[in-house]
Symmetry: C2
Subunit: 227 residues, 2 copies
């Protein structure tokens, strides 16, 4: 079954008891996943082969197929793993003021963008050739969870249309700013992040003119001495 | 070669001279294209078959294959046609003031979104299963041309990073607002369009704090008595 270097060697130290074996199977899968994610982060999905993933993880091509079935499944799994990592990073760390948490979240978001540069760009610019409905759903679900996260930080339970559209628009504009930054890198990241926080404040100001709910929210945020 | 109703009958009135024949071939292709675009606008691409397009145009399945090769090619052609229609609509009609043109453009954009509702949503939410790099490129090129259009309206030739990111972000947020509106329709379109124009003004205000170029642009727009 091909080469037995790197990750494969580690497994030999485990014994045959089910619990240990299971752990080792999970770990092996995670190692393949990490190698795949690393490759998908640095290259267009079209340019990553099963062989590349196998080589990077020191495993056989057959083993990658065994765990993931095929490249499309591997890509979907890597994407889900990346989405989970992003969400974990964006979870508020403390009980900070909403706009401070937003600024921190943006910093972590851009760290993520930078670490997964090629994959992020390929995915959101229009996607690789094998992009399927499933992949679109993962992207949408990340956007949706970011929306819920921001709402929770702002202590909003049921956003009216104006607030919902404002927050979704802002998330889209952050995504686009991330793509633009990867493409041009002609502005300092901290400057860009500050600008995006200012965008949120400005957009909420606009929404407040259209919806008393947002006006109330802005007053509440202001009471937190945020602006 | 199947049924000869509708579009097919019209062709019979032409004669065999090359110019007339050519016209008739082009018209036939356009008719198939219009039928395809109509179907792709109202349904997910996955749910549209070559047979549906043939039936809607009163043509044979073989004829659709003859002109377009296959469903993916037909979808790409329909998308290009839709993109061209959108751009034609957004071209400034007169020498209006930039922010008035922006408001008019937004109205026409939302007309387009409404007319192509299902196709717009399916394309931009994550895309149909057969979405390929080519389709992503069409979407990107529309975004890029919208950016150039807005820059021209604002008489900006070389945007600095802050302005470029602001305009791209705004375009992304309009797209997202379009998707949100199709999904919820719980805000009046004119209200939403006004809010998006206000977004632009607010975002330019933020960018002006980061870049003197935008400050100058804002002053110029204000001299046009726009705000």
């Amino acid at each position: 079954m091909g080469s037995r270097s790197g990750a494969a060697r580690q497994e030999k130290s485990g014994d045959a008891r089910p619990a240990r074996r299971r752990l080792s199977v999970d770990r092996r899968r995670e190692e393949l996943m990490a190698a795949a994610l690393e490759l998908f982060s640095r290259h267009d999905a079209e340019d990553v082969s099963i062989d590349d993933v196998a080589a990077a993880a020191g495993a056989s091509r057959a083993l990658v197929y065994h765990y993931f079935g095929g490249k499309q499944e591997l890509y979907v799994a890597a994407l889900k793993s990346a989405a989970a990592q992003l969400e974990a990073r964006l979870r508020p760390q403390g009980n900070g003021r909403p706009m401070d948490e937003l600024a921190l979240g943006l910093e972590r978001y851009f760290d993520f963008v930078e670490e997964h540069a090629a994959g992020f760009a390929a995915l959101l610019k229009g996607g690789p050739a094998d992009r399927s409905g499933e992949i679109g759903e993962i992207v949408d679900s990340v956007r949706h969870r970011l929306l819920r996260l921001i709402m929770r930080q702002m202590r909003v339970e049921e956003p009216g249309p104006a607030l919902r559209i404002t927050l979704r628009s802002w998330i889209a504009s952050v995504e686009t700013a991330g793509l633009d930054w990867l493409e041009h890198r002609d502005i300092e990241r901290p400057t860009l992040e500050r600008m995006l926080v200012d965008h949120m404040v400005a957009l909420l100001g606009v929404a407040a003119n259209h919806d008393p709910q947002v006006e109330g929210l802005l007053e509440e945020l202001a009471r937190d001495q945020l602006f």
